[in-house]
Symmetry: C2
Subunit: 252 residues, 2 copies
């Protein structure tokens, strides 16, 4: 069972919807990965091309894991209307028919960085810590109560600002990045808010006790930790002290 923080206030009356939402947003203000030193280096143009490659190759594992996470969540949903809503998240990542989807757009980025596609999609040279964090997220939505599983997606509330910052920062600071390879982030500027709004309303409506609300806030914290841990691993391997684990990607 995935660990959640202890519920300190579980027996108190529920928070108002406004206070509940504020508690969720406070988690982002505290520990969303836009605060991580690695992101500051990435967006500020302080990384080498090899370090940006390492980031994109590792982050692929997360992109590729998201539709499995969403399918795992859907496999627990008995409400057909909720499944009909949630499934578009899988379409967004895997594509549907002619639409190639977000994972394909991520591979356009890794192509643009000069990485070999099979090397990226095999995930064989990703950091183990990256893959552990991604799989922790997939398991979380299987094991937690449904409303808590949904709440773990709420980091999307904080995503548009990091994506705007990333698009501007990377275009300005790296000569090996151009507009076409950043298509993934541009698309997420519209997709993420739609998803986040739906999930936030769902969580507000379905977390009725203080204990459920606290568990949802803890879920956002957990999810932030899965993102933060990925950047810690990148920073350790490719910035300071720069110790690449056995078998992981080594920039040329």
């Amino acid at each position: 069972m995935t660990e959640l923080a202890p519920l300190k206030f579980a027996t108190e009356p529920p928070l108002s919807e406004a206070d509940f939402e504020a508690a969720i947003r406070a988690v982002g203000a505290e520990r969303y990965h836009d605060k991580h030193p690695f992101h500051k280096l990435l967006h500020g143009g302080k990384l080498t091309k090899g370090q940006v490659q390492a980031w994109a190759l590792n982050r692929y594992c997360y992109q590729a894991g998201v539709p499995r996470k969403d399918a795992a969540l859907m496999s627990r949903v008995h409400d057909r209307e909720l499944r009909r809503e949630w499934i578009h998240r899988i379409h967004d990542h895997d594509g549907l028919g002619e639409e190639p989807g977000g994972i394909e757009r991520w591979l356009v980025l890794t192509d643009g960085l000069g990485l070999d596609r099979d090397d990226v999609t095999s995930m064989a040279r990703a950091l183990p810590a990256t893959r552990f964090a991604v799989e922790a997220y997939v398991r979380f939505v299987v094991e937690q109560p449904l409303v808590v599983a949904v709440a773990s997606s709420l980091t999307e509330l904080f995503a548009p600002s990091i994506h705007r910052e990333r698009i501007a920062g990377m275009l300005e600071n790296y000569d090996f990045i151009d507009d076409t390879v950043l298509a993934y982030f541009k698309r997420r500027l519209t997709q993420a808010p739609r998803d986040a709004d739906f999930a936030l309303e769902f969580v507000k409506k379905n977390a009725r006790t203080r204990a459920e609300q606290e568990a949802c806030v803890a879920a956002v914290r957990f999810k932030c930790n899965t993102l933060w841990a990925q950047l810690d691993a990148l920073h350790h391997a490719y910035v300071t002290p720069g110790l690449v684990p056995h078998g992981a990607f080594v920039p040329a």
Copy 2:
């Protein structure tokens, strides 16, 4: 872990594709639920309206479980192309956008039989054995190797003939059944073969050892058993001896 039959021939060389397919089809010839006495009564016009209601109300649980099963399977699939193919099964059952989907068509049938929609969708008066069988199927695709999980869908190879028989038999034999309420089965006449063809090719290609082939054949047997057990429970409760379990649907 879901039980599978012991593998008697696991160390022998693999079957040819033709023999492997024949072994799969032999399972249907032996134990697909079109051979069950309850289906013979159903299609032959030998049931009362109350017994047909009991069948439709219970079978709803299976219909409603299928998209969860397909999402559970997708949650294990790392191959994006396979997920992009498999997702249309969820669309077929849950609908997509304007298309209402197979579960909605099943509810048109239960409406037509005079059942209350909330009563059907709550599943509260379904037979416990029905729900156990459905959940055993959902668990199976989570727990078994992926190719074996895919193989469990291959009862669709046998579905079109039962659907054709059902449409003709029920229209001819029951004055409370008309063409509109059988829309579910008419749609499945085209959907099931597409799905079955894809899954059969996948299984033939990916079950490479005799042990894997035997496990796939056992999966089709397992799936047939989940369908058969549902009819056994209906027969026991509503035909002979006609012992309805506590809390289950009682025809008016």
